[in-house]
């Protein structure tokens, strides 16, 4: 009896059930040609596993370990996370010079090209100010007024976590739904300064807690800046009534 390659292959790979296996074994015992074909399948498997198996013994590059822990995006420069320079709340820095503008434009372009998706938060919601990127338009309105505890989930901007940063000012994470962009903004004077954005947010539809939709990149930035804990609904409301002035 003749057997096709797929059956012999499945036998060699140990994929047949005991009954089928017994049939093939009996056939092999009678037919040296079948035995040769099975041996060839097994030898190929050994050869492939042996050749690539050497990779297991090699040291793993550090960049991969960082990526595996969720931390490689900003270092590799390949992701589309933008972390804007943190500026002191007290000492306004000089306006950006041309070189910095070009660098920022280049990194924006790089993010777009490499990630093959448009990094296009509504231009009306960000504005470059003297201290970095500032929130404008509906983003600024949401940061000023919207309480995470009172959101219906349909708002164009969803507010996630509100917390106090190490510098003592308030920060709030946000999700710009139309641009599928998450970010973090911190209060500086009477402005919301955008500390970071990540446009790799997947659309999930429905009502989703803005905090759980935050990409790991933003969560890490929050972790590094947060002092104490996330504000609960009551504390968030009081902070809002104080116009986000942490010194009141």
């Amino acid at each position: 009896m003749n057997y096709d390659d797929e059956t012999l292959m499945a036998y060699a790979d140990g994929e047949l059930d005991p009954a089928q296996r017994a049939v093939i074994e009996a056939a092999i015992a009678q037919d040296p040609e079948l035995a040769r074909r099975v041996a060839q399948q097994r030898a190929l498997r050994t050869k492939m596993a042996g050749a690539f198996g050497k990779v297991l013994d090699q040291p793993v590059p550090e960049r991969l370990e960082n990526a595996a822990r969720g931390g490689a995006k900003t270092e590799s420069g390949r992701g589309n996370v933008l972390q804007f320079p943190a500026r002191s709340a007290r000492a306004p820095s000089p306006p950006w010079r041309a070189r910095e503008w070009i660098a920022m434009a280049a990194s924006l372009l790089l993010g777009v090209l490499l990630s093959w998706r448009l990094l296009t938060p509504d231009p009306g919601v960000f504005e470059a100010g003297t201290g970095g990127m500032l929130a404008r338009g509906e983003l600024a309105r949401a940061l000023d007024r919207q309480l995470a505890s009172e959101q219906r989930g349909e708002e164009p901007v969803l507010i996630g976590l509100t917390f106090k940063a190490h510098e003592g000012n308030y920060c709030r994470s946000f999700l710009l739904r139309s641009a599928q962009t998450a970010g973090l903004a911190c209060r500086v004077g009477a402005e919301w300064q955008v500390a970071a954005t990540d446009s790799s947010v997947t659309s999930q539809g429905g009502m989703q807690q803005a905090s759980s939709a935050l990409p790991p990149s933003i969560l890490r930035i929050i972790e590094s800046r947060m002092q104490g804990t996330v504000l609960d609904a009551e504390a968030e409301k009081i902070a809002q009534q104080d116009a986000w002035d942490a010194n009141r």
Binding site: Q41, F52, G53, V55, V60, R63
Partner: protein, 164 residues
């Protein structure tokens, strides 16, 4: 939240050697392979919310890597990039020890397989997955997997010679 996230991170770290091996069997050289691993792992983090607790993390990330690899190929084809000649790969310039020579030869033979056969061979012969597991990672029926695997094997024997 923080704890769960760092725990997943460590689990992914422990998968890295296998992910590198899988990526190496799909790529021409280790550098491209590591780029692929990085892309897959970053993609996994971005889509962590789609991972169902209790599901097999390894299978999930292997599947992500499969998609990332196919996306890379499509992008490259769309850009009309011409594949580099084999000599510009990692063909050793000095007389290689046997092990390096066999990896290079096997890698070059894999490179000639159609992508669907390469994936089947990589998961079953190199990674040692069962047919069922491999079919799940590739999101194809078992019958499709076995026929791709059989064709891939035939082509490899034709390319590499009888391994026995």
């Amino acid at each position: 939240m923080t704890e769960a996230v760092s725990e997943i991170g460590e689990r992914i770290v422990s998968l890295l050697p296998r992910l590198r091996r899988f990526a190496r069997s799909l790529s021409r050289n280790q550098h491209d392979a590591d780029d692929l691993v990085q892309a897959a792992v970053e993609r996994a983090w971005r889509h962590l919310d789609q991972f169902k607790p209790g599901a097999n993390l390894a299978s999930w990330i292997f599947g992500i890597m499969k998609n990332a690899w196919l996306d890379n190929l499509r992008t490259r084809n769309r850009r009309g990039e011409v594949a580099l000649p084999e000599d510009s790969g990692e063909h050793p310039a000095v007389a290689p020890v046997d092990a390096e020579a066999s990896l290079w030869a096997v890698s070059a033979a894999m490179d000639k397989l159609p992508e669907d056969q390469r994936l089947a061979v990589a998961l079953v012969l190199v990674e040692g997955m069962s047919y069922k597991e491999a079919a799940e990672v590739l999101e194809i029926p078992m019958g499709t997997l076995t026929s791709r695997l059989a064709r891939g094997r035939l082509a490899l024997v034709a390319e590499l010679g009888d391994p026995t």
